[in-house]
Point group: C2
Chain length 453, copies 2
């Protein structure tokens, strides 16, 4: 009897803290057990999942005040994780398409950044990115850019989780006219934001092995290591980059970075389009995280990453959209669809990168890339309540034989109905709770008038 009483007391004490209940839908937990839970109920307390299971096995709290999210005819799943983006680049969405990468970067993007990026414009651009991510079911993102105090401010105000990194490049950059100050700027950025919030992790983003010297890379690594933070970089996005690194350093990019000590488990490398088998094996051995960015690689004509090769070698893989100037949206549902289809046609094998594998990239894989696998990426007791609800009541999601197939091959970001991060509802029935969309879009439209002239 004692144990029963204890249990009752514990339930009652937990009951009081439940602030959110999501119920009625089919839960896709992305845990190893993986079987969908029909008619699920999720209890959320203090930002974490207190319980999840079938509604008849998970009792509603007997008292207290809690909000209910109705997930009938819907899928309850972990929020998606965008492991490579530059969210403030929403400012340049659609400004320069269908041109060669070098011209795009050096004649369009870099000059526009130099002219128009200010703390103010980055704030509104990043907030628009956050708005778009919430609207399409992304709850956590890895970002690299300039004036990143403002991206932190935007993510914090939006309520999103993120690894937000200060860009480092050995050229004059927005906010860092003298490249000699780039590492100092990054160090101060880390010092300023570390410990600021449970949801925001600051970091450093080295632009690439081509645009950062070995000294710069070394210093960035040292600071990241000191604070146990991931270090982000663009790696082997184009064949030109690979050839140039070989010319300069006599070895391929992964081996060059390995020589500098960067090739280890703290590194998040985006793109990885031009990696040979030896490089893939070394990346696996050293535990480097790779972010697949298929739509940007397609749009810029960079090539196709060998995802099947990476998967066979057991690499940790996340999925990213890249910035809006090379995609041109932040919709990870669309990115999952493209990733799966691109792998199949690249391998000429319809078995490559099945729907389940690509959904893992956008959830558990993304969590592992960010070093947050113990906190997010699945729906299970004790994990952070980063949860989205996908409305199935749309013609293109009917009928439903396989929820994973529906999510990857049929859905798009607009099907997301509710978004919860850290137990807080950021979107309910497609209404935003933390951001005024008209204000954000209005501000960005104003900024774009100057950029467009």
């Amino acid at each position: 009897m004692a144990s029963l009483n204890e249990h009752r007391c514990e339930t009652q004490s937990q009951d009081k803290d439940v602030n959110l209940v999501i119920e009625g839908g089919m839960a896709i937990t992305m845990t190893k057990a993986k079987a969908p839970i029909p008619g699920a109920r999720v209890l959320v307390s203090k930002g974490r999942i207190l319980d999840i299971g079938k509604a008849d096995e998970v009792k509603l709290p007997s008292g207290g005040h809690f909000e209910i999210i109705d997930a009938h005819d819907a899928i309850i799943m972990p929020g998606l994780i965008n492991t490579h983006t530059h969210s403030a680049m929403t400012l340049f969405r659609g400004m320069a398409d269908d041109i060669p990468l070098k011209q795009w970067l050096f004649e369009k993007i870099f000059p526009a950044e130099a002219r128009f990026l200010t703390p103010e414009t980055v704030y509104w651009g990043a907030l628009l990115g956050c708005l778009e991510m919430i609207a399409s079911g992304t709850t956590c993102f890895a970002d690299g850019y300039f004036f990143q105090d403002q991206t932190i401010r935007a993510a914090h105000n939006a309520g999103l989780r993120g690894l937000i990194a200060q860009g480092v490049i050995d050229f004059p950059a927005p906010g860092i006219p003298d490249p000699k100050e780039n590492i100092k700027t990054a160090r101060e950025f880390i010092d300023r934001w570390i410990g600021f919030s449970d949801l925001i992790m600051p970091g450093i983003f080295c632009h690439s092995p081509l645009t950062c010297s070995s000294q710069t890379l070394n210093k960035a690594l040292e600071i990241s290591k000191k604070h146990h933070l991931p270090l982000q970089i663009h790696l082997s996005e184009t064949s030109e980059e690979v050839h140039e690194i070989i010319k300069r350093h006599g070895k391929r990019p992964v081996h060059y970075l390995d020589q500098l000590g960067l090739i280890d488990r703290s590194l998040i490398a985006a793109h990885g389009v031009h990696l040979n088998n030896g490089e893939i094996k070394l990346l696996k051995k050293k535990g480097v995280k790779i972010v697949h960015v298929p739509e940007s690689n397609m749009k810029l004509g960079s090539g196709v990453a060998d995802i099947s090769g990476m998967t066979k070698n057991g690499l940790t893989l996340g999925l990213g959209t890249d910035g809006c100037s090379s995609n041109n949206n932040l919709d990870l549902f669309s990115e999952m669809d493209t990733a799966a289809k691109l792998a199949k046609v690249f391998d000429l094998n319809p078995l490559s990168l099945n729907a389940g594998a690509v959904l893992e990239m956008a959830t558990t894989g993304g969590a592992a890339v960010m070093g947050l696998e113990k906190e997010i990426g699945t729906l299970e007791k004790g994990k952070k309540a980063d949860i989205i609800v996908v409305d199935l009541n749309h013609p293109h999601l009917c009928p439903l034989y396989d929820p994973i197939s529906a999510l990857v091959y049929s859905a798009n970001g607009a099907d997301v109905k509710d978004v919860i991060v850290d137990g807080r509802v950021l979107m309910k029935e497609r209404k935003f709770t933390t951001i005024d969309p008209d204000e954000v879009m209005g501000r960005v439209r104003e900024i774009s008038k100057k950029i467009g002239n």
Copy 2:
């Protein structure tokens, strides 16, 4: 003064017939002039565009009753044209993914079709397809399947425009247990429906040069020619198909079909993934229409059609989604995005298939493929009023530097707000006027329970 009076009389007489006015948005006409019209107004009368221009140049009717579509903060454009689909295959959406094409077709799709297709199931499947097309901005489609009386019934009830073709294959097929009856069935189908409606054109769809004998192909051609109707076929979708045709007939598929007289301007050939340069040149010379179906080709690992080669050679190109069992949706916005990006990465050239070219494929190109270029595909005086309005008031469509880029690279089908076909409003503010979505989805869910078991 006489001419002024006449003009006034003419205007007044036209005025009375205006039943619909679309106004306030930016019109993308897809005419050769092409410049967007800001603050546009479109007058619709008797199913056609009576006038289009800037609002201050196109006067509102002075009397009469007309409906107004508010297109402020939106793009007014021609409805999209899906030139290759099997709409009733919504029934099998997500039933069989990530498996080899042969296994998919022979172990999954063909057996499911044999067991579960009836006039009743095809009707509800096709109607769900129509619902999904309306919901994502498609106003006209080319369809091939079985029990096609029902697809005509669905399209007619939905209010869509279409070329709806009876499938012909030299195997037992749904509704045609004896393949000897396949041509007779097709002939009777044409006789039954020709002249039935201005919006619906009946036709024949020969499954492929591999699954139809030369006799069957000849007879299908003869019937199509007699009625001046297009003939549809799957052409060179897989390399296996090409090899098998060479083995059987000693020549590649295009040359084999040319020998039979099929390679001419009445042929609509879908896929065209494995065509060599000589075949492309012959297709151009003879005026064959090609439908690009990139997402299905990717998902089934079939390969990538050489769209740049076809464009250089001046082929008439449309865009298609294929059926929902190999895509898995009918969203042409998503298909445009993928088509552009796939061409770029296939050519390793970001200049390939720019946004404007892919939007042409889905509008003017699609109209030309269907032989309807004088009636649809652009917004101009005298053309049929097949018009969609795309709502720009979404985070992922902000800011707007280039409306064509936004439509191709950022939008998805859910951004379509209003759909008009032949001057009739089929969707207004995302509410359907001709179909009860709950009924259709409910029926298909019931059918899917049997299929799924």
